[in-house]
Structure formats: structure tokens, C-alpha cells
Amino acid sequence: MWTGIPLFPERASTMAGRVDALYLFLIVVAVFFSALIAGLIVYFAIKYRRRAPDSIGTGIHGSMLLEITWSVIPLLITMVIFVWGASVFFAMSRPPDETLNIYVVAKQWMWKFQHLDGQREINELHVPIGRPVKMIMTSEDVIHDFFVPAFRVKADVLPGRYTSVWFQPTKPGRYHLFCAEYCGTRHSGMVGQVVVMDPSEYQTWLSGGAPEGSLASAGAKLFADLACNTCHRPDAQGRGPVLEGLFGKTVTLQNGEMLVVDEAYVRESILMPSAKIASGFQPIMPTFQGLVTEEQLLELIEYVKSLQALPQVQTR
């Protein structure tokens, strides 16, 4: 029966091996010290068991040398673990430059995924092997947590904010996706499957159905529907900043601060336009709080991102 129980989940990402190696090292440390302590206790308990009812122990009070030894050695070991764990964590926190981005909107109690090409999935996520995938995540209600044991990654998904997590799948298959932050009644039902596919199959799957067109094109339509384009014009004649080529650039704000235009800034500028005004513009944009959903926000962001490579940028 015992052999039927696996001790490790599938290793299906580039990170899995690194985490498991650290885990194994820690198991060695833990087993060594547990065995040492347990062995000594049992040995002492037997060897020095009370033989006469009135016997007392030897009056030993301590040893500075021993105290220093068993303070310093554990300290050194823990520092090794710290550095090792920190380096793994750094790798987890810093995605490579070129990633396949997928947007995630979590809500009680489901996962909604939006691919750049326009595919939308619920509780099922298709990704190719061999490419780093970055999930850009937000929640519509409470805190959730994106957890794929086979990839050894986990990150909380927060309302009102984007968090991200990345992984590079290495092995085709279907893996568990769990919500790992308690989120209410059907928390344990907020599970799904990550389907890792060969790149060619993935391409087939991608072309299989994207009725609404790409995410950016949906954003472009929304951009026009909401009349954003009356002020944000590519020719710099509008009342709002030109968005072409803006994403990823550093802008100067009215109060002199500088910041990089990222997803969070675009999101904030739509929901709270006056919070951080780019220098040279008036705080005239109305808020779109309550008018656009989290998913539409992501479409708009993706549209702004897509404006980078358009030729208008040069003609400015």
C-alpha cells in the first residue's frame, strides 16, 4: 500500500526541480537533527535511567563551548538554507523578458483566463511547453490564490491590483490548479486543470476558436465604444496623452515624479484618472470606475500595449 503513495507531485516546470532539490536538502537536515536528538534522548533515557529511588544526577551546569557550537552550526546551516531559498525565490519572482502573457480574473468561485489571441477559458488553462508563461492576475471580489503544485508556483490574487506569477512548463499533461487562499463557501470547488501541450498542438488549439478576435482588438473596439479615442489621438492633437508607444516608457507626472507605464498605471489611469496626471495635461478625464469590468480593463490594457509597434509612433 505504501508504495502506492507518491511523495512528490509531478515535476512539470523548470522550477519544480529547483524547489525539489531544496526540499530534499532540507529533509536531509531535518532527518539528521531529528535522528540525532531522538537518538540521544532515548540513549540517555536508557543509559542514565534511575537505578535507586534517591539517586540524583551529576551536577553539570553547562559548557560555553557546547553552547557556542550548537548556536553557530545551526546558524550556518540556516544561512545556507536562506541563501538557497532566496535564490529560488528570486528566480520565481523575476520572469524572463519574453513571456507569453495570459490574463487571469478570479472570482468566487471560478478562474477566468484570457489569452492574447482572444480565447477565453474558465477553470481550464492551455499552455505550451518550452515557453515561459506569465499570468497577470486580479480578483473581482476577495483574495484568491493561483496554485499549480506541478509547477511549484503559487501567488495570491488580489482585488484592485495585479499580481503575477510565471512558469515554464516542461511536460505535457493535465495538472491540478487550486485556489489556495480560502475564499468562501465553494473554495474547494475553485479548482481547475492546466493543460500543457506541445507547441504544435497548442497552435492548433489556439486557432481552434477565437470568435471575438484578439484581446487587443476587443480592447480597440471598447476604446472606440467608450469614446476614448476622442481625446487620446495618435496625432497628439487630442486633449489626452498619445498612447502609441507609451507602454513601458517612463513618463513625468505633474508633481515631477517619474514612473514607468505598466499594467497597474494604465489600470489606475482608467479608474482614477486624476490620481497621477502626466505633466502637461489637465485632469479632465472622467472616471471609468464601475463602467468597465475587470476583464474589459484587461482588454484595454492589452490594446494600449499593442499600440507600441504601430507606425504612427514614428510619425509623431
Binding site: L158, G160, R161, A264, E268, M272
Partner: protein, 97 residues
């Protein structure tokens, strides 16, 4: 703790300084000093609080233990503020809502 009776004169002096500080802090608030506004306001508040603690609350004449208690409370408050701010000041992804 030995009964140390603080002369009334000291209480009145401290009171006068506290009043002066209150006047100052209100006045300073109306000048634009950038970040220095906050710095000045907090510095004055800390000075006022210290005076109250030392003289009105007799810590200046208190035992080492009482000093330790006072310093300890400020230290732990410092832990709470510093480590919490440590997160907020180093976040890359800011929070909006």
C-alpha cells in the same frame, strides 16, 4: 521609587513650552515647506510628548525599569512601523483600488 516631589515651577515651565510648541506647529503648517512640513510637525509632536513623559509623568525621576518600559514601548512601535513600511516602500506592483 523614592517620592520625588517636582516643584510646581517646573510644571508651569513645561506647560509654557507645550503651549509655545502648539502655537509653532500650527503656524508652521501654513507655510509650504514640502516634506519638511511633515518633519516639522512630527518633530514638534515628539518634543511635546517627550516633555510630558519626562516631567508630567515623572519618568525623569523614575527608576531604570520605568525607563526601560518607556523605551521598550517606543521600540516595539518602531518595529511595527518600520517592518510594515519596509514592505510598502519596496513594492514594485503598487496597489490601487
Amino acid at each position: 521609587m523614592p517620592d520625588h516631589i517636582v516643584p510646581k515651577r517646573i510644571y508651569y515651565t513645561i506647560f509654557a513650552i507645550l503651549m509655545l510648541c502648539t502655537y509653532l506647529t500650527v503656524q508652521i503648517a501654513f507655510f509650504d515647506l514640502g516634506v519638511l512640513n511633515a518633519v516639522a510637525a512630527l518633530t514638534i509632536a515628539v518634543i511635546k510628548a517627550t516633555l510630558v513623559v519626562l516631567f508630567f509623568m515623572h519618568v525623569k525621576y523614575g527608576t531604570r525599569l520605568i525607563w526601560a518600559v518607556v523605551v521598550g514601548s517606543v521600540f516595539w512601535l518602531g518595529i511595527l512601523l518600520a517592518l510594515t513600511m519596509g514592505d510598502y516602500l519596496t513594492r514594485v506592483w503598487r496597489t490601487y483600488g
